[in-house]
Amino acid sequence: MNRKLLCLLPAAAVIFYAVKAGAGAPIPPPAGGTISGKVTYTGTPPKMKPIDMSKEPTCAKQHTTPVMTENVTTGPDSSLQYVVVYISEGDPGGAASTETVRYDQRGCQYLPHVLPMQAGQVLQIFNDDQTSHNIHPLAKVNPEWNKSQPAGSLPIDTKYDKPEFIPVKCNIHPWMHGYFVVLNTSHYAVTGPDGSFSLKGLPAGKYTVTAWQEQYGTQTQEVTIGSTETKTANFTFKALPY
């Protein structure tokens, strides 16, 4: 009789702790390792120029200070913003995320300036402005299309099947520049104003990490991580004043 009850003890313990975990215990972090770092520049980057939106008063009035061009956007401590950092090799890959990525045309700007997504992932493009825009992604590997999106029209749903860096422009408003970055991997990040990035949830293995900046091109690094390791990979681009 006692032995049988003792055998039940481990089961009881498991049930006890499972209930305790379910009852508001903190969610554990995603399994896997992390590659993180900062993207910075050396040298002198070009000065970004203010954009003259006077030809589109409905947009110009939305900005209290002039909007600057964004091809080389820098931050404190020589950081580079809008750099896409992603796993270019070593990722076994998988089906595209079922989440939708969103692109906005607002104040005659593309938000975000650089939008990464997975090949096959649904992209929704919104026109939040009171003016027409035409959305013209200049794809070369994927099909190139060009659609008018007047003020108040429905969002455009689309997707890209092949990896590619696609410049996006509006012909009506020539200062609008953005990028769709179509990748095979789901492990990607875009650096913020401080130039930092973090690729989480990576299984143990050897990876090639690529950093892409629209003007300075790509750089790669090989990083090997263990299953719960965090490793640093920093990238430095050489900036020229033009």
């Binding site: 035409n134 959305i135 099909p143 190139e144 008018s148 012909n171």
Partner: protein, 283 residues
């Protein structure tokens, strides 16, 4: 004996490698009306008639290319201006044949009508060998063009409202002279300066000259250029209204223009000008 076997084996091997290396694109076919075009028959025609502008690689880098504007079409991109298919999709063989036959007015691309229909079908087949997209993608489904609605002054006036609301005037200008506020900065997809169509020149549209062609132009977009597709934002009957209005911007004697001239002489004070002043009135 051994050397003979070795030689035969080697010859077989080399010819196999050679056969594999032949562009399988030469098996490309086209179907234009009742005709079947063949790429291998189109190749010598291309070399005689097309290569000077479009180049040996079909990339628009022929030896004439630096001297002409607009530049010759780059077939490797598989992006074509005049299609019956939606923006971003491949044209049909008939679309390509129409382009070759009609030529592109106001450009260096002549009308190849003097060639026989079979020759043109063969050329279409060969053109399709320049891009791998023709192997992976099918042509788009041609857009449905409903029967044209009657040409009435209401149709013309509604088309005029659409011209204002869809902001066509931003590139084409309030009177369709190609002088809109955004016209000066327009570039095509190869970053070459390009001008929007000027309706007042009396020239034909690049993609045809009928009302059907005009309908098709703005409902499929002119791929590779700033002209977008309005298929998602204009209803088919509204599209006919826009076609009727656009005819009034041209110099030819058309029923549309006659209706508009009569109307504008009788109702001059009621006509709001097209352009930004009207738009800021909360359109």
């Amino acid at each position: 004996m051994k050397t003979k076997i070795a030689f035969i084996t080697m010859a077989l091997g080399v010819s196999l490698v050679f056969a594999a290396a032949l562009p399988s694109g030469l098996a490309q076919e086209s179907h234009v009306g009742p005709l079947t075009g063949n790429a291998s028959s189109g190749k010598p025609l291309y070399k005689r008639f097309c290569i000077g502008c479009h180049g040996p690689a079909g990339d628009g880098q022929g030896e004439n290319a630096p001297w002409i504007d607009p530049k010759p079409r780059d077939f490797t991109a598989a992006t074509f201006k005049c299609r019956s298919t939606p923006t971003g999709t491949l044209p049909t063989d008939d679309d390509l044949d129409n382009a070759v036959t009609r030529g592109f007015v106001t450009t260096n691309m002549p009308s190849w009508n003097p060639l026989t229909p079979q020759q043109r079908a063969d050329l279409v087949a060969y053109i399709k060998t320049f891009s791998p997209r023709w192997k992976t993608d099918k042509p788009g489904i041609p857009i449905h063009i409903p029967a044209e609605t009657p040409v009435t002054i209401q149709s013309v006036l509604h088309g005029r409202e659409l011209f204002q609301k869809m902001e066509c005037w931003k590139c084409h200008g309030p009177a369709g002279h190609g002088d809109g506020p955004s016209a000066a900065t327009l570039t095509d997809s190869k970053d070459q300066p390009i001008r929007p169509y000027n309706f007042s020149t009396g020239s034909r549209f690049k993609c045809g000259q009928t009302n059907q062609d005009l309908y098709r132009i703005f409902m499929t977009g002119v791929d590779g250029t700033p002209m977008p597709s309005f298929a998602d934002v204009i209803q088919p009957n509204d599209a006919w209204d826009l076609v009727h209005f656009l005819r009034t911007l041209q110099t030819m004697h058309t029923p549309e223009l006659a209706l508009w001239q009569k109307y504008s002489s009788e109702h001059a004070s009621e006509i709001k000008p097209i352009g930004p002043d009207a738009a800021s009135g909360g359109n």
